[in-house]
């Protein structure tokens, strides 16, 4: 057994990764909704084990403001939040990518209140779907740990220079103790170069950042921002490849499980994916041609990879962890349907919204979804059709 394998709470593991990445500034609002991630980092900094500024601000709005300032002067910058915290941070979240500030944020996904809730779903991240950050999803503690290094590496790359959100499910991941294979300091050195910003605020070479965008330049600025996000894909793929070469764990924008010859696939994001892989095993044992597509890269959206993986598929069951009220069901299903609209052979896309605010979604629930979907074969499912699963009556 490797000596770097540790039993640890996933939040603490992720915080250790942030410390190992030798972050310079951490700004966070330290109470609810927050995780042990920044609590642990505050202890590491207070003990003197990490030479960084830990700035406990009075709100998440200030946390992201501080992050923008710190990143603008060239500091490696980190923050972390959830649900209402992200909502309060919202105004500044949209500014960071336009200013090309490679801040890294772990979003411990939790539901947005109304009714008041603290539990896990994806309503927080889906509320900022179009914020312009690179966004990835992780399924377990190891992936969360690995993606801290990935996020700094990709975001800070001079060709990218964009902020990155690492999504990890609140509670289901943040509060679980499991085994994580820690990187050695040598691996971190090899993978993550020193942050050298393309532009930074410095008195010796004054520049203007975050300036007014008059109508004659705003469109161009937005186009440039969008191009930057689209172009980041190249560095994302490179960073995953190199991580694989170092750790043996190769990540991809769209990952699959028994999808090659599947007629029906579940499409999942985040920690429910692991449970669904068990469902695939069980249904395969019954002789059903079932597989799984796991969407890891949410922005920039991996259109090409997705289309390639579902070319031969007849039916896709999309799991959503949030509702687009009055819209086309879940935000993920909407994207999948859009991505496949131009395809000649469109698979049937059914959409289940499940696991809202911590509602357990069991193996049997997924099997039930599969069986319900099989009955729909040959029928017409409209773009906007969806089922909110497991509603008690």
């Amino acid at each position: 057994m490797s000596k770097n394998r540790k039993g640890i709470e996933v939040s603490i593991g992720a915080a250790d990764a942030v410390a190992m990445a030798d972050v310079d500034v951490i700004a966070a609002y330290p109470i609810t909704p927050q995780t042990h991630i920044v609590e642990h980092l505050s202890e590491v900094v207070a003990r003197g084990d990490l030479d960084a500024e830990y700035i406990p601000v009075e709100s998440e709005h200030s946390a992201m403001s501080v992050c923008c300032g710190a990143s603008a002067v060239g500091a490696r910058t980190f923050t972390c939040t959830s649900s209402q915290g992200l909502a309060l941070m919202n105004e500044i979240v949209f500014i960071a990518p336009c200013m090309r500030l490679p801040i890294v944020m772990i979003l411990a996904n939790r539901s947005l209140s109304g009714p008041l809730s603290i539990w896990n779903d994806h309503s927080d991240v889906m509320s900022i779907r179009d914020c312009g950050w690179i966004q990835v999803f992780t399924e377990n503690g190891q992936e969360a740990f690995d993606h801290v290094f990935f996020a700094f590496r990709v975001g800070e790359s001079p060709d990218v220079s964009l902020p990155v959100i690492v999504n990890m499910d609140g509670f289901i991941l943040t509060h679980v103790i499991e085994a994580i294979e820690y990187w050695t300091p040598e691996m971190v050195r090899q993978y993550l170069p020193e942050f050298k910003p393309v532009n930074r605020l410095h008195p010796d070479k004054p520049v203007t950042m975050g300036a007014f965008g008059m109508p004659n330049i705003f469109t161009e600025a937005k186009m440039a921002q969008n191009e930057a996000l689209l172009d980041s894909k190249e560095e994302i793929l490179k960073a995953w490849k190199e991580m694989g070469d170092i750790t043996g764990r190769y990540y991809k924008p769209v990952e699959t499980y028994h999808a090659e010859d599947a007629e029906t696939v579940f499409l999942t994001m985040g920690s429910l994916s692991e449970t669904v892989s068990i469902v695939v095993d069980q249904l395969r044992a019954r002789g059903e041609k079932v597989g799984q597509i796991r969407l890891r890269l949410w922005r920039p959206f991996p259109f090409e990879e997705l289309r390639n993986e579902v070319k031969h598929v007849k039916s896709i069951i999309v799991l959503d962890r949030a509702i687009s009220y009055g819209g086309p069901g879940g935000p993920v299903a909407g994207e999948i349907r859009a991505a496949l609209y131009s395809e000649k052979n469109k698979p049937l896309v059914t959409n289940f919204v499940a696991g809202l605010a911590g509602r357990d979604v069991t193996v049997n629930n997924y099997i039930d979804m599969y069986e319900k979907t099989q009955k729909l074969a040959g029928s017409r499912v409209r773009q906007e059709d969806y089922t909110i699963y497991g509603v008690r009556e």
Binding site: M1, R5, K6, G7, I118, W119, N120, F171, I172, H175, V176, I177, E178, A179, S271, L272, E274, T275, S277, I278, G358, D360, V361, T362, V363
Partner: protein
């Protein structure tokens, strides 16, 4: 895979017990998960925590509804909560109680294998407080050796530092004093 559900009251260390068990298993090279029943923390209220242990990576991330083992840290919870909910037929209930296994079996009307120990008494005598998390772990391992009892020593040392010796004593005493009666019929 072995699935364990732990019942206690907030503040008694049901979550810590699950953690220690998972850490011991991971130390043995196994895979494990420990997690609380997510929600606001409430001292004194009945709480549940969970632990999974396997030789293979664990992909299941749901609550545990059909446990192999149920461990009860506080005798009063036995009457408040259906601790037996979903317990497998050949599963084991391990409980803190001053009564005998036969008495508990009769009271709950169950056929399952049963491990009993007066953990509150042991904890009072060894630790000076009625916190039964480490004590009940000794009892659990007597009922079924999910991990080597020695594998718990390192996690106990890391967790309890100054009071580690007393916790180890309580753990070992419970291991010795637990009586396990087999499944009926």
């Amino acid at each position: 895979m072995i699935e364990i559900r732990l019942h206690g009251r907030g503040g008694q260390g049901a979550v810590t017990s699950a953690e220690l068990l998972a850490l011991a298993a991971i130390q043995e090279g196994k895979y494990a998960q420990a997690f609380p029943s997510f929600g606001p923390e409430r001292r004194g209220a009945p709480v549940v925590s969970f632990c999974r242990i396997d030789d293979e990576p664990i992909r299941l991330r749901t609550n545990i509804t059909n446990p192999d083992l149920v461990m009860v840290l506080d005798p009063s919870v036995l009457r408040l909560v259906n601790v037996l909910s979903g317990l497998k037929e050949d599963g084991i209930l391990v409980t803190n109680t001053k009564y005998s296994g036969e008495q508990i079996r009769k009271e709950l009307g169950i056929f399952h294998s049963l491990g009993t120990v007066n953990a509150t008494k042991i904890a009072q005598e060894e630790l000076g407080v009625p916190i039964t998390n480490t004590t009940m772990l000794g009892s659990l391992l007597k009922a079924r050796q999910i991990v080597d009892p020695d594998s718990l020593i390192e996690p106990l040392k890391k967790r309890f530092r100054r009071v580690v010796e007393r916790n180890i004593r309580a753990f070992k005493r419970a291991y010795e004093e637990t009586i396990v009666i087999p499944k009926q019929g």
